[in-house]
């Protein structure tokens, strides 16, 4: 191995020749190798169907890779099971493209779930929920059922749930698809704050504005293959 111990220690995500096939013969991802450093904000772009969501699902262990190796925080996540897997998932916050909100529960309850599973104290949970809702300008939606919210509001609640437990890795799938410019800016501010406190963030997006003028790395997928990997401001 040519890698020095220092790089392995600071890599949050290590993907080596990862591929994913769906039966009967869809190749969603092929031969992806990338290393994402701890604390990095990393963008994932590509046309619809390029494989962005599939890659994120592999990273949070919702799908298993057909081939290749994925390590998160130094662990091969597809070999971890039981309580260890649960502990790992508590450290990974995911905002799904389809939100996965519990539509018959209130906004506050939805956000609280990710903290309840790691047994945070109720008063800490309440305070955190209020602060997140304030940052996303959703204070007045605290007790509404998420099923009654607009798409854009649901999207922000899903994001709030993903970051609530202060995870070390945040995976965000299309966070601004339904949002206006102001709300988009608030979402990016929230993510920037998470990044500043040390979280590694992977964002799948179609919105060029999010990475255009940043020095963050951007990986472009095309038909499941790595198309390019450059800094945002170099694109």
């Amino acid at each position: 191995m040519s890698e020095s111990p220092a790089t392995t220690r600071t890599a949050m995500i290590e993907m080596i020749k990862v591929g994913k096939e769906f039966p009967p013969n869809v190749t969603a991802l092929a031969d992806i190798s990338v290393s994402i450093a701890s604390g990095e904000m990393f963008f994932l772009i590509g046309r619809s169907g390029a494989g962005k969501t599939t890659l994120l699902k592999l990273l949070c262990n919702m799908e298993r890779p057909s081939n290749g190796l994925i390590e998160v925080a130094g662990m091969n996540i597809h070999q971890v099971t039981g309580n260890k897997l649960a502990k790992l998932r508590q450290k990974v916050g995911v905002a799904y493209q389809d939100f996965r909100l519990l539509t018959d529960r209130t906004v506050a309850e939805n956000i609280a779930i990710s903290m309840e599973v790691s047994y945070k104290k109720p008063q800490i949970i309440r305070a955190r929920v209020r602060s997140l809702l304030a940052q996303l300008q959703l204070e007045d939606k605290h007790d509404m059922l998420t099923g009654d919210l607009s798409r854009g509001e649901q999207q922000r609640v899903a994001l709030a749930r993903a970051v609530a437990n202060s995870p070390a890795l945040i995976l965000v799938d299309e966070p601004t698809g339904n949002l206006d410019a102001t709300s988009t800016a608030q979402v990016m501010e929230l993510l920037a704050r998470c990044s500043n406190s040390g979280a590694t963030i992977v964002i799948a997006t179609h919105d060029e504005a999010l990475y255009r003028h940043s020095s963050n790395r951007v990986m472009k997928l095309h038909n499941g293959k790595l198309d390019s990997l450059t800094r945002g401001d170099e694109l």
Binding site: C60, M62, G82, N83, L85, A86, K87, L88, R89, Q90, K91, V92, V94, R100, L102, I113, S114, E116, V117, S118, Y119, K120, K121, P122, R161, N165
Partner: protein, 295 residues
């Protein structure tokens, strides 16, 4: 601490969301507990009544001849071969005569012309004071009839036989209602939990994704089972106790209940019934989880 807080909150939410089904399950469990404990209560009361009645139970074997001391020993051996007994007492013709005169009291002069040995000698066998000997008394009597020199065996035939069949029947009813209790408790709870699991599939899926441990997901379902068992047995036993109070209140002083004092379960049995239904309901919820909660 926080684990239990979260889990209990989760359980409360489950119960609230599916309260109608939960209520029906609880009702079914308590009805089965009521039915079982009702028959069981009657059974144990009959048993203790049987014990009291068997205080007076004795078999009398009338003999052809008055046995000498050696023969008495042999007879005693033969009798105890069948079963342990409390007492074997030989009554000679003379003793029988003197007992009889005592019983006659002031009218004893009717016997003046009779020979003092006109009454047969007999053996009085007092079986052990338990229900087994009460139930076996018929067999015992048949056995005693076969010992040499026996002429006739006497005991409260009709009464004892009826009692025997009644307790037999009752024990079958107790067993049946016990089986019913086991079936309803486990199956009803299992099916309620299955419904809850299916109804909350989406949430359980999400809980897994955000890193809930197995225990976090499963414990609320087990608590639900414990709760059902506790509530079901509590309601069932309370209903039985109310019924018991009402019955004894209304019929005290009337002849039939004076025969034996009707008592409620001792606390050990109450605790056992409650624990048993908790265990059964929890087992029901556990089997459903094993089948339908893929983690």
């Amino acid at each position: 601490m926080n684990f239990w807080l979260s889990v209990i909150r989760q359980t409360g939410r489950n119960l609230r969301q599916t309260w109608a089904t939960q209520f029906m399950t609880c009702l079914t469990v308590s009805l089965s507990v009521l039915m079982f404990s009702f028959f069981y209560l009657i059974y144990i009361n009959i048993l203790s009544a049987g014990n009291k009645v068997s205080d007076d139970l004795r078999l009398i074997v009338y003999l052809d001849e008055e046995p000498g001391p050696q023969l008495q020993e042999q007879l005693r051996l033969k009798i105890t071969q069948f079963d342990q007994v409390q007492e074997v007492k030989f009554i000679s013709k003379a003793e029988a005569y003197s007992r009889f005169t005592e019983q006659l009291g002031d009218n004893r002069d009717v016997l003046t012309d009779m020979p003092t040995d006109f009454l047969p000698a007999s053996i009085e066998v007092v079986p052990l004071k338990n229900l087994r000997s009460l139930n076996q008394v018929k067999l015992f009597a048949e056995y005693l009839a076969t010992i040499p020199g026996s002429q006739k065996v006497q005991y409260g035939q009709k009464w004892v036989e009826r009692f025997y069949y009644f307790t037999q029947l009752l024990s079958i009813v107790v067993l049946l209602s016990g089986t019913l209790l086991i079936l309803t408790a486990t199956f009803m709870v299992a099916s309620t939990i299955r419904l809850t699991i299916f109804g909350r599939q989406e949430e359980l899926e999400l809980l897994k994704l955000v890193g809930a441990t197995n225990n976090y997901i499963r414990t609320p379902f087990l608590l639900e089972g414990i709760f059902q068992g506790l509530m079901g047995s509590f309601l069932g036993l309370t209903a039985l106790y109310t019924l018991f109070q009402w019955t004894t209140g209304h019929f005290s002083g009337a002849g039939f209940l004076d025969l034996f004092t009707f008592t409620f379960f001792p606390s050990e049995i109450i605790v056992t019934i409650v624990l048993l239904s908790i265990i059964l309901c929890t087992a029901g919820s556990y089997t459903s989880m094993q089948k339908f909660l893929r983690i």
